[in-house]
Amino acid sequence: MGAGHTHKLYRHGHSPVHALPPHTKLTAVFAFVVVVVSTPREAVWAFALYAALLGTVAYAARVPASFLLKRLLIEVPFVAFAVLMPFVAQGERVDVLGMSLSVNGLWGAWNVLAKGTLGVAASVLLAATTELRELLLGLQRLGLPPLLVQIASFMIRYGDVITDEMRRMRIARESRGFEARGVRHWGVLAKSAGALFIRSYERGERVHLAMISRGYAGSMPVIDEVTASRAQWSYALTLPCAALVVCLLGWAL
């Protein structure tokens, strides 16, 4: 199981961004997103500067632009929603290409698109430069309750196992000639989901027994405590601090 434990969102590398302790990166990304969300939407240039900042981080982390852009596609459903906004929002209207659009709606659409995209890009960069286990350690270091971290780590560890189990059930169904075509076949799929639940739950019980037999008493031992030096903190916090300067400028101008 050694090889399968890096998720496909992670890009292995040895850049300075990869080397940063996870909790500094988490803090930096969160602070950056908060700053972006707090920026007035009228300051269009500020968002260009934010994008440039993220571009610099991506360059420092040696994450190729194509990788980043491909992962940005997750946003598409909300782009559709944003496109609708100018048509339904209230307020004064302008005519663009023969369509009557709401000014407020246009600003709203821009607001969601710009901030949403920057947020997604920041998260993608975080996931691309930080290993799963490190992320969980970082979350624990930042004060997330240990039980929650344990639950999350079990979810991550067994997510692939359960998904694979589901895939095998699908192959089993298909090899017996089943093909789900409509609502009539929901019963079969739901039975698969039920079986999947029972298997997951029973696996959970087995995992628990295995843990007990290895001396689990309610908390996981922390083997590799992550620490960050002052230099690493300041390096990581460069991004949100630069963003904060831009944001303050955006409010002032």
């Binding site: 997103v33 707090s38 007035p40 969601v112 997604v120 998260s123 979350l139 929650l148 979810m155 799929l189």
Partner: protein, 354 residues
């Protein structure tokens, strides 16, 4: 339905984050009662199950398909607390790893999709199970009703959050109609799948369905041709403890937080219509700059940010903060006293029955 960054303004996102954190804290304690020391592996595996089952596609008609959201299913299968916890963990991981749903919108996402869905579903489910005859089909029927109501409830909750902190003033009536309308349809699909899945689990392992506890008939043995009650060997699964005053306190705290946050925003939003007229007529074109220059945290997307709204919003944030601090103080005091009372019993928790 994952809300991205920038969709809801910063103060309301922060308030929702506080609500979500409180709900997760309550469910962490509740889940320990539902699953005892097995919480970590079992809740983790159930979260993985929800994560996987969300990828299972249910074809609707030519080309289109839907998938399960899982809040109602989790509540019925593993109990409300574990359900909230599992869906929250799934949302957290989706936000951090897959960038699905913004980081600042995490509070909104957890409040709407994990807390509201699960709590509404479980409340409806419990209510119906109590009323209906104690048979297996009534569990399926209750599961259907619970899921069919939980999805539009989440949509309505989202609309409420949007009404308070949305960054574009789309008419709220339209948003509500569109959101609830679409989600009633989604809810019917969700309910069908949930009911079928619960039915499938109950047929095989009725003991695993949390919502169907108390339905198991007592075990009978056939001794010399007649049915005899089996000796009560199997210990009852630990019942969820009765409502403690602390739970009440926490619920009250959460409610007051919501009220403090939201009511203050409403109060500050009401003069906005007036001010907006002023803004449209260009009266306060200058006031805008001054009013907003000194507050980087207030992201009001509404056109014409004015003094009244700004100060109201800030007051809301400060109010929420003060309430949190005060509430935490009370919480800690109560907890400290309680742990002092109960410490001898609860210190050595190493299970002996393994």
């Amino acid at each position: 339905m994952h809300v991205p960054d920038g969709f809801i303004n910063a103060p309301v996102s922060a308030a929702a984050g506080v609500v979500a954190a409180g709900a997760v804290a309550v469910s962490l304690r509740g889940a320990r009662r539902e699953l005892d020391e097995r919480t970590a592996p079992l809740a983790g595996l159930v979260a993985a199950f929800i994560f996987a089952v969300q990828m299972l596609n249910f074809p609707v008609a030519a080309g289109t398909s839907g998938h399960l959201l899982g809040g109602a299913l989790a509540a019925i299968l593993v109990g409300p607390y574990t359900g909230v916890l599992c869906v929250s963990v799934v949302l957290l991981m989706q936000g951090i790893l897959f960038a699905d749903g913004g980081l600042t919108a995490l509070g909104v996402n957890i409040t709407v999709m994990a807390v509201v869905t699960t709590v509404v579903a479980y409340a409806v489910f419990r209510g119906l199970v109590k009323v209906l005859p104690k048979k297996r089909p009534s569990i399926t029927v209750s599961a259907f009703a619970a899921a069919v109501l939980s999805v539009p409830a989440a949509a309505a909750a989202f609309t409420l959050v949007y009404a308070v902190g949305g960054t574009t003033d789309v008419p709220i009536g339209q948003v509500l109609t569109a959101m609830v309308g679409v989600h009633v349809l989604i809810g019917i699909g969700e309910a069908t799948i949930t009911a079928l899945t619960v039915g499938a689990v109950i047929a095989v392992r009725p003991d695993l369905v949390y919502g169907a506890r108390g339905l198991t008939a007592p075990l009978k043995l056939r001794v010399n041709g007649e049915l005899v009650d089996a000796p009560a060997a199997e210990p009852e699964p630990a019942p969820v403890a009765a409502r403690s005053p602390r739970k009440l306190l926490l619920a009250g705290l959460a409610t007051s937080l919501v009220l403090a946050g939201f009511v203050s925003f409403y109060a500050s939003a009401s003069p906005d219509g007036l001010e907006k007229v002023a803004a449209d007529k260009g009266i306060d074109a200058k006031a805008e700059d001054h009013a907003t220059a000194d507050s980087p945290l207030a992201d009001y997307g509404v056109e014409g940010v004015t003094n009244a709204r700004l100060s109201g919003g800030l007051a809301g944030v400060i109010g929420v903060g003060v309430t949190v601090v005060a509430g935490t103080g009370v919480f800690w005091a109560v907890r400290k006293r309680r742990t002092n009372e109960t410490s001898p019993a609860s210190t050595s928790d190493i299970p002996e029955n393994v």
